[in-house]
Symmetry: C2
């Protein structure tokens, strides 16, 4: 009891914005940015499902925020702040909480967000976490999955498939000399801050897997898509691994890059809006339903997996 | 995978407001009510901690919403809608989801709220749930815990201690002939809709226990309090049980009534604002720190428990 309040005071009150009223009231009070729409998203992370027992608490905290920040990025929203829930087994130590809250603080600084409120509980099972993120957009400017049209180009930010290989490295199934792939799996980089309204016709963040998330856009937009595997940008570290990993790269999630539908003729505007962040055209939307991935030989790949799976 | 999407379409999409964009995008988009401040709160409910295995799914759903709605009530906020997380063990049946979503639908109707978004996951342990509720208040009108002053009166809505006895009835420790106490424990009535701004100086909902939550107000306000146990309103059903339950009634939570600090001379305004809902004066705030509960004989009670405890 007293323990819960002292933990809140020690680890979470320092993270709180003025909206949180010192985490002393029953709720937070937020003055919405005038003339803007609010964007709201929630994601949870559970031990054994979304992270592995023994993962560094600071990285768990940052990935929790970043998964949600990536959802805001996919909507074109500017992040504001978040509410947090924690359910921790009784034996969870002060060192875990100290590292977890330090991770939150680090990414609050990175992404200019504040803690608005939360709820803590004990857990009878493993660690269970959730974050509700709030952001804002200009009225009508929120991006979505439903705007892609036949003829629009398919673009992706950054590189694809690093996290799938990084997860295998974390499991000891392959060697990640530089740690790059592991880092891409543990600490994704949400693509917030891009001004894509008026340039892209649809957007999604790649959390289920490239082809799976492309399928979400196709279904929401009532179109189909063809992707050329040879155009999908892989990092130098991922390219060290052979074609036996091609399917994993295309169908497993956790990259948190953006997949964008871009009407013809806007490539210049898109690359200008993305600045130093590389963007790559990998295919095209068309009228016929379904997602097809063409291999290096131009023949459609026969893929066993359609997308994201839980760790275990 | 497909299972998750079809469950969302079947059970949750029908609950969604326009803000949820059909639960098809990465986030919800909300136009804030013009000229109002937003009030935000989140609470979780975990199997074995906040509810018992085998509790009716519809009642779990409604209590999840109502605990959060009670937090909005304590802030004086008008409810708008919510985001939901569910983590369910793999074997969770369609019947559980059907009853759970029916409970959500029922209380959405009762409290005029909509589902804005959510996240679903599988759980390796028991059922884990959270809801983030949004409401709104006039600028500066949010109530809080920090405004009580020495001389303010202590008032409570409704009756106190029913839920503590109801929990014992659910455990088979006492007989609840009418089911009233059990119902008060399973399905609290959040006191939303009261216009208390300008009348009360502080407010909190009673979730930890009457004396514990009074202590929260005292600490936030820098005052102390004296409560007379003989003034605390008990229901007729609770009054059937003897003084051996007095401590439980005063120190265990889950009643979700409001505890209010009311400056002298405002009793008439308060009772008018509460309409058909009974409100009762039970004590007074004073300058000296600490919470004292006087027994029927006027002697301070020596209480073992300071407030809320987990079920197990």
């Amino acid at each position: 009891m007293g323990d819960e309040f002292s933990r809140i005071a020690t680890y979470f009150a320092p993270l709180a914005g003025v909206e949180a009223r010192g985490l002393m009231d029953d709720a937070a009070v937020l003055t919405p940015p005038p003339g803007r729409e609010l964007v709201l998203t929630v994601d949870q992370m559970l031990e054994g499902v979304h992270f592995l027992p023994g993962d560094a608490p600071g990285l768990i905290a940052r990935k929790l925020l970043r998964r949600n920040l990536s959802d805001l990025a996919a909507m074109g929203a500017v992040p504001l702040g978040y509410l947090l829930t924690t359910a921790l087994p009784p034996g969870t130590g002060e060192d875990w909480l100290a590292a977890f809250s330090a991770g939150l603080a680090e990414d609050q600084e990175c992404f200019n967000i504040k803690l608005f409120g939360g709820d803590s509980s004990s857990s009878l099972g493993g660690i269970s976490l959730s974050a509700t993120l709030l952001g804002h957009v200009a009225p009508g400017a929120a991006l979505g999955r439903g705007g892609a049209r036949a003829g629009d180009e398919i673009w992706v930010t950054g590189t694809i498939g690093d996290a799938a290989l990084g997860l295998r490295a974390r499991r000891g199934e392959l060697l990640d000399d530089t740690g790059f792939l592991t880092s891409r799996s543990m600490l994704p980089q949400p693509r917030t801050g891009l001004e894509l309204a008026g340039i892209v016709s649809a957007a999604i963040d790649i959390s289920d897997g490239l082809l799976q998330d492309l399928g979400h856009v196709c279904r929401a937009s009532g179109v189909g898509a063809v992707v050329k595997a040879g155009l999908v940008p892989f990092s130098a570290q991922a390219a060290l691994f052979g074609p036996e990993y091609l399917e994993a790269r295309l169908t497993e999630g956790d990259d948190y890059e953006l997949l964008l539908a871009v009407p013809p003729g806007r490539a210049g505007a898109l690359t200008a809006a993305c600045g130093a962040l590389p963007v790559t055209k990998i295919g095209v939307f068309h009228a016929q339903a379904g997602v097809v991935a063409l291999g290096l030989d131009g023949v459609p790949l026969n893929l066993k997996n359609a997308g994201w799976r839980h760790f275990i």
